[in-house]
């Protein structure tokens, strides 16, 4: 069933009841969305907009008050739907007394993996997430970035077709954040569907095929990223090694065109602070 959407959220409403049934809070209101197989879907929105609640409903950790959710056509309320999904919660903690390798072994065993297959898979995941050197260290001594990468490794251990990532770069430094971003891009090239939330919009812009913007428990915008962020009446050209004469010629051409055509700005584009940080951090150590 290659056309079956990876995730279907159908008119989802979630109301949290207060103590003694008073003070009910509607976290998600009549939300519908679909994540197509093989795409990276970004769910963004301010704190308290209902993103995490939606994810939990998709994973079957919460029961919808109304509506339904499914993973590859199987209702999320059925445990079997979780064969196809791996989940990385926000700021995950694992059993501190286990080593990285033991942690992956534990999660693999929970998915009925065993023997040589499990051992091989654990080694693959340690290699993929760059944790081979820390495999025998207890998780209690891991940095935040390493915990996130271990979280990704455990989410992938049973070869899921869908990854659900809740703020995968929260609290991680830009270099670690970049590694996770690259991994998400890698997942997409390998056909894994990714449903991701993040507050780092620049990163979301780099990895997502489609985004949904939530506010107050509702979907307020949804669509292909390029369609949503494109400014329809503007065109961008970036020239390399353009002489001042050529730039003047272009300006003159634009002026000569007349009508509504205007040159809004020109000059040297700036790199991002993130790129500058990564370049500086990766410079060889001076003796």
């Amino acid at each position: 069933m290659p056309d079956t959407p990876a995730v279907i959220v159908n008119h989802l409403t979630k109301v949290f009841k207060g103590p003694l049934g008073k003070g009910a809070f509607r976290a998600v209101h009549d939300l519908s969305l679909q994540v197509k197989s093989g795409e990276v879907y970004g769910l963004i929105g301010p704190n308290g907009s209902g993103k995490s609640t939606t994810m939990k409903a998709v994973l079957g950790l919460l029961k919808p008050t109304e509506g339904s959710t499914s993973i590859f056509g199987i209702p999320s309320t059925e445990v079997s739907s979780r064969h196809s999904v791996g989940f990385l919660p926000e700021n995950p903690y694992f059993y501190k007394h286990l080593t990285g390798r033991e942690t992956l072994h534990f999660y693999g065993s929970l998915c009925d993996m065993r023997g040589e297959k499990l051992k091989t898979r654990v080694n693959e995941m340690l290699a993929l997430t760059g944790l081979e050197d820390a495999a025998t260290r207890r998780v209690g001594g891991y940095s935040k970035g390493m915990l996130q990468r271990l979280g990704l490794a455990q989410a992938l251990i049973h070869e899921p077709r869908l990854l659900v990532l809740d703020e995968p770069t929260a609290g991680v430094d830009p270099a670690g954040s970049r590694i996770i971003r690259d991994l998400i891009i890698e997942f997409r090239t390998r056909g894994i569907t990714v449903l991701v939330t993040s507050h780092l919009l620049e990163q979301m812009q780099e990895v997502c095929d489609r985004v949904g913007i939530m506010a107050h428990g509702r979907m307020v915008r949804e669509g292909r990223l390029q369609d949503l962020i494109a400014v329809g009446n503007q065109t961008e050209m970036v020239l390399e090694n353009a002489s001042p004469e050529l730039q003047e010629k272009i300006k003159a051409l634009v002026q000569a065109e007349g009508g509504n055509t205007r040159l809004l700005r020109s000059g040297q584009p700036r790199t991002t602070l993130e790129r500058l940080f990564i370049e500086a951090a990766n410079e060889p150590k001076k003796p």
């Binding site: 290659p2 994973l59 079957g60 029961k63 049973h158 894994i192």
Partner: protein, 307 residues
Amino acid sequence: MIDITQNPVSTATPKVRFSPRRVWTLAMATVTQLIRMKILAFLVLFCLLAAGAGFAFSVINPEQQLNLLKSVTLGALQIFSIVIGVVSTALLLPKDLEDRTLYTILSKPVPRFDYLLGKLLGVLLLIGGGLIVMDVVLSLVLWLRQTMLLDSYVASLRLENMDSPEALAQVREIVAKQGLTWNLHWAVWAIFLKAAVVTTVALLLSSIASSTLFTIVITFCVTIIGHGESLIREFFFRPYLSSLAGRSAAFVLAALCPDLAQFDIVDSVVNGETVPWGAIYDMTGIAALYMTVYLFVTHLLFVEKEL
């Protein structure tokens, strides 16, 4: 290149059924977690104290000495097993939820019942393992003590020229009755059963409680009430003792709390009485019944729990 999805378009999704192997994985992780939380260090310290206590009592007579040794160590074992069971269980579930470990476990194809059973089994394995170690230590200490006491008492009888065959036989009989017998192991088994029932109650409460302290306090209250079930029943079946409201409260308590007095054979064992097989079967059956019912209710509550 590493193949992340070796079977990316596989759509054969097997049904998830109860898996003893999965439960065992969870139980072993729980045991490791508790052991690395220095619970084992506490156990070793306790063993040393118990062993030391065996030689610490002042000389009264062999019967009283052995009696006292069994009474103190078995009493301490009861407290140890219940405290470990309640505190461990009360800590584990909320900690998994707080650390979001529960999310990563339950977002895998793991039924909630398997998770609950794994946690319970892990705590029970730890208590059971601890009690086996303690049983071995206690048996060794008791055997050493009874041998030493017998030797010294026989020597004192000889010194006073009172070592007639009848007197010696009587002393040997008293020491053998109060010393190491199979009854000691049955007492440890009863202690385990009681701790197992209380641990299951703690699991039930921790599945609905919002704080660890609440679980610990209420479970200890249930444990205390459970030891007085006979009084509560008497209160309920004798209308002249109380009002309707009082009797209703007594009924609710009697229905909800386990009758832990069913497992109180320690006093009999301390007094050197023989524990009949029927009593052991009854205790085991009652414990199994309580645990099944409490675990079933826990499952019903936990499966509906919003995480």
